[in-house]
C-alpha cells in the first residue's frame, strides 16, 4: 500500500488534466487544427469547397498583387496606430481624471463605459448616421449657418479610415479606461506622496513615474486592443461596407469576402495565413515571455 515507486507521470494531477480537456481540445483541434488546415488549404486552388489541388504559392503571389489587399493592409496599419495611440491616450487621460477623487466618479465611469456594451454593428450604425453629411453633424452645422463646414469622413476616400476610428474609439476607450483605472489604483500611494514632497508637478509625475510603473497594465491593454484591431470587421461592414470604393477595406473583410463572396477559399486562406503569420510574429514571443517563463509552485 505504501507507494515507494514514483507513480506514472500521466496519472499525477489526473483530475486537472481531465478538467483541462476542453481547453486542450480547443487549443489543439480548433486553434492549432483549424490553423493548420487553413494554412494547408492556402496552397490549393480551392474555390467554393476545399479541395486538395495544390498550386504552390500562387495564391500568395496573387494576394500581394491585389490592390485591395494592399489597401487593406495599409488601412489596418493606420487604423491600428490610431486605435492604439488614441485608446491608450484617451483611456489613460480619462482614468487619470477619474482618479482625482472627483465627485460623481461612478456616473462618469458608467458614461464612458456604456458604449462597450454595444456591438460594433450598433456602433457602426449610429456613427454612420452621425457622420452622414446630409443629416449628421455636418448637415446640422451647415443648417446653423456655417455652410462651408465639411465633416464627412465616411464619404471621403482619403480619410474614411479615420472616420471608422472615431466610432471604434467611442466604443472601446471605456474598457481601456477601466483597465487603466484599475492599474492606477494599484500604484503605491507612497509614490504619490514621495513625488509631492519632491515637488514634482502632477503631469510630470504621471509622465515620468506613474506611466513607466504601469507597464504591465499597458501590456495587458495593448494585447486587448491589438486583438481587437486585427479582428476589425463588423464595424467597417456596418459603417461603410469598405467604401467609398475600397477605401476602407480591412484584411479580415478581405478574407471573408474572398472566402464566401468570391467563393475562392484558397485566396481567403492565403490572406488569413498572412494575417495569422503577422499576429504570431508579434504575439508568440510576448506570450512566452509573459506566461511561459515565470514558474510558480
Amino acid at each position: 500500500m505504501s507507494k515507494s515507486e514514483r507513480p506514472s507521470r500521466l496519472f499525477r494531477n489526473l483530475n486537472a488534466k481531465v478538467a483541462s480537456i476542453p481547453m486542450i481540445l480547443t487549443a489543439l483541434v480548433v486553434f492549432v487544427g483549424g490553423t493548420a488546415w487553413t494554412v494547408l488549404y492556402s496552397f490549393t486552388n480551392s474555390k467554393l469547397l476545399p479541395r486538395l489541388n495544390f498550386v504552390g504559392l500562387d495564391q500568395y503571389y496573387r494576394l500581394w498583387a491585389t490592390p485591395r489587399w494592399l489597401i487593406s493592409i495599409e488601412n489596418l496599419l493606420i487604423y491600428g496606430v490610431i486605435s492604439l495611440v488614441f485608446s491608450l491616450v484617451i483611456g489613460f487621460v480619462l482614468a487619470a481624471l477619474l482618479d482625482q477623487k472627483i465627485r460623481f466618479e461612478d456616473t462618469f465611469r458608467t458614461i464612458f463605459l456604456y458604449p462597450f456594451a454595444l456591438s460594433f454593428i450598433v456602433t457602426g450604425l449610429v456613427w454612420q448616421w452621425l457622420l452622414n453629411p446630409d443629416f449628421g453633424i455636418q448637415g446640422v452645422i451647415r443648417k446653423l449657418g456655417w455652410t462651408s463646414f465639411a465633416f464627412d469622413p465616411l464619404y471621403n476616400s482619403s480619410i474614411v479610415i479615420y472616420g471608422i476610428s472615431i466610432a471604434a474609439l467611442w466604443q472601446g476607450t471605456g474598457l481601456i479606461m477601466c483597465l487603466m483605472l484599475a492599474g492606477l489604483r494599484g500604484i503605491d500611494e507612497d509614490i504619490w506622496k514621495a513625488a509631492r514632497v519632491d515637488g514634482i508637478p502632477m503631469w510630470k509625475t504621471y509622465l515620468f513615474i506613474i506611466i513607466p510603473m504601469m507597464r504591465p497594465v499597458f501590456i495587458t491593454t495593448l494585447v486587448i486592443i491589438a486583438s481587437g484591431i486585427v479582428k476589425v470587421y463588423d464595424l467597417v461592414v456596418a459603417q461603410t461596407s469598405g467604401g467609398p470604393g475600397i477605401a476602407s477595406e480591412v484584411p479580415a473583410k478581405y478574407v471573408y469576402d474572398y472566402m464566401f463572396f468570391a467563393q475562392n477559399l484558397g485566396q481567403g486562406f492565403a490572406a488569413s495565413t498572412m494575417m495569422l503569420l503577422s499576429v504570431m510574429i508579434v504575439i508568440v514571443p510576448w506570450a512566452y515571455l509573459e506566461f511561459g517563463g515565470r514558474k510558480r509552485v
Binding site: 503605491d188 507612497d190 509614490i191 506622496k193 514621495a194 509631492r196 514632497v197 519632491d198 515637488g199 514634482i200 508637478p201 510630470k204 515620468f208 513615474i209 513607466p212 510603473m213
Partner: protein
C-alpha cells in the same frame, strides 16, 4: 526654550466622521530626534503626513521653523520624507531618483551633481548610482530613499517606518546608520515606528500614541521606567512587563495585595495621592528587574514559586512562573540552567515597579 523646529498646535484630523487625530499638540526642538511610537492604526502615519502637508488637516496649525506652513505645499515646507515602502521611482536609476526633484525644481546641473555626490558619500551608495532600484537589496533601497530626502537639503526629516520591511539583522545595522546620520547632520528628525527597540535606541524623545492621542512624550528611559499609564507600560519592553491585578492593601503601611501575595509599597514613589485602601489597581514589574535565587533573598519582596516554562533566547533566558495567580516572567542569564517544575525563589524591589489605577490605567 529655543524656537521649536516643528510645532503642532491643536491639530485635528477627521476622515469624514472618523476622527483620527484629536487636538494634538507637539513641539519639537531644533535638531531633536523624535520617535512616534504606537500600535498599528493609532494615527502615527497620519500625523506625519499632516506635518508633511500630504493630508489636509481639519483643524489647528503647523509651524516649521517658526513659519506657519499649514497651507503650504509639501515641497515648500522644508521637509524630506522617507517611506516604509521606499517609494523609489522604479524605472529611474538611483542617480535619477535622487536628482529628479532637484531637476524639476530647476537647480543648476553642477549644484545637483554636488548634492548627489555629498549624499552618496554620506550614505556610501556611490557604486550604486547607475543601478535601478530593482537591482538593489532592501537595505540599499532604504539608503537611496534616505538619500532622496538628503539631497533636498531640508531642515526636517520625516521617516515613516523606514525599516519595517527589512530583516532583523539589516534593521539593526541601518538603525545605527540612521543614528550616525542624525549625529552628523544635526537635523530635526521625526521618526514613526511601532518597533520599540528602534524607538528606544534612536529617540531623544518618544511620543507614545494611542487612538490619535499622545499618551506620553518623554525621554526613552523615562518612558521605560516610569510609564504614565498601563498602556505605555505594556507597549514598551520585550519581554513585556508583568502585570498583577489586585488592590491597595488595608492598614497603615502601603501594600499591594492580590491572590495570596502582598507586596509592600513603602519604597514605591507614588505620583499622586495614593488613594484609599481597597482601591483596585495593577502592579507591574519588568522581567529584568526580577531577581531569583540568592539574589532574590536580598530584595524587599520575595516569593516562592515553580518554573513553568523556560525560554532560552540565546543571550539570556526567559523563565515563566506564576505569581498572584498570573503568568509571571523574569529574565536570567543564559548560563543558568532551570527546568520545568524546579522550585524557585524570586524577588524584586517595588521601587522599580509601576502601579496603575485599574479603571483609568493611570500611574499612581
Amino acid at each position: 526654550m529655543a524656537k521649536p523646529s516643528v510645532s503642532i498646535q491643536n491639530l485635528s484630523l477627521n476622515y469624514g466622521a472618523v476622527s483620527v487625530l484629536q487636538t494634538l499638540n507637539l513641539d519639537i526642538a531644533e535638531g531633536e530626534f523624535i520617535v512616534l511610537l504606537g500600535p498599528s492604526g493609532c494615527g502615527k502615519s497620519t500625523l506625519l503626513n499632516c506635518i508633511a502637508g500630504l493630508l489636509d488637516i481639519s483643524k489647528g496649525r503647523i509651524f516649521i521653523k517658526g513659519k506657519n506652513v499649514t497651507w503650504e505645499e509639501p515641497k515648500d515646507r522644508g521637509i524630506g520624507m522617507v517611506f516604509q515602502s521606499y517609494a523609489l521611482y522604479p524605472q529611474m536609476t538611483v542617480e535619477k531618483n535622487l536628482s529628479f526633484g532637484l531637476r524639476v525644481a530647476g537647480l543648476p546641473r553642477d549644484q545637483i551633481a554636488k548634492r548627489i555626490a555629498r549624499a552618496a558619500e554620506i550614505l556610501q551608495i556611490e557604486p550604486l548610482l547607475q543601478r535601478k532600484p530593482s537591482a538593489l537589496s532592501g537595505g540599499q533601497r532604504q539608503r537611496v530613499a534616505i538619500g532622496r530626502a538628503l539631497v533636498r537639503d531640508v531642515d526636517v526629516f520625516l521617516f515613516d517606518e523606514p525599516l519595517s520591511n527589512l530583516d532583523a539583522k539589516l534593521r539593526s545595522e541601518l538603525r545605527v546608520e540612521i543614528k550616525l546620520l542624525h549625529r552628523r547632520l544635526q537635523n530635526t528628525m521625526i521618526y514613526v515606528t511601532h518597533d520599540q527597540i528602534e524607538a528606544m535606541t534612536l529617540a531623544d524623545r518618544i511620543a507614545v500614541m494611542k487612538g490619535g492621542v499622545i499618551q506620553q512624550l518623554d525621554a526613552p528611559q523615562t518612558i521605560y521606567n516610569r510609564p504614565v499609564n498601563r498602556f505605555v507600560a505594556g507597549f514598551l519592553g520585550s519581554p513585556a512587563m508583568n502585570f498583577i491585578e489586585g488592590q491597595l492593601g488595608a492598614g497603615d503601611a502601603a501594600a499591594f495585595t492580590a491572590d495570596g501575595v502582598s507586596i509592600p509599597l513603602d519604597r514605591y514613589e507614588f505620583d499622586k495621592d495614593r488613594g484609599s485602601a481597597g482601591k483596585p489597581c495593577v502592579f507591574g514589574i519588568r522581567p529584568e528587574h526580577v531577581a531569583f535565587g540568592d539574589a532574590a533573598k536580598a530584595m524587599p519582596f520575595t516569593a516562592e514559586s515553580a518554573v513553568e516554562i523556560v525560554e532560552p533566547m540565546g543571550s539570556d533566558t526567559l523563565v515563566w512562573t506564576k505569581l498572584g495567580g498570573r503568568n509571571f516572567s523574569f529574565r536570567v542569564e543564559a548560563e543558568k540552567t532551570l527546568r520545568t517544575g524546579d522550585p524557585i525563589r524570586i524577588g524584586f524591589d517595588p521601587a522599580r515597579a509601576s502601579l496603575f489605577d485599574t479603571p483609568s490605567g493611570n500611574r499612581l
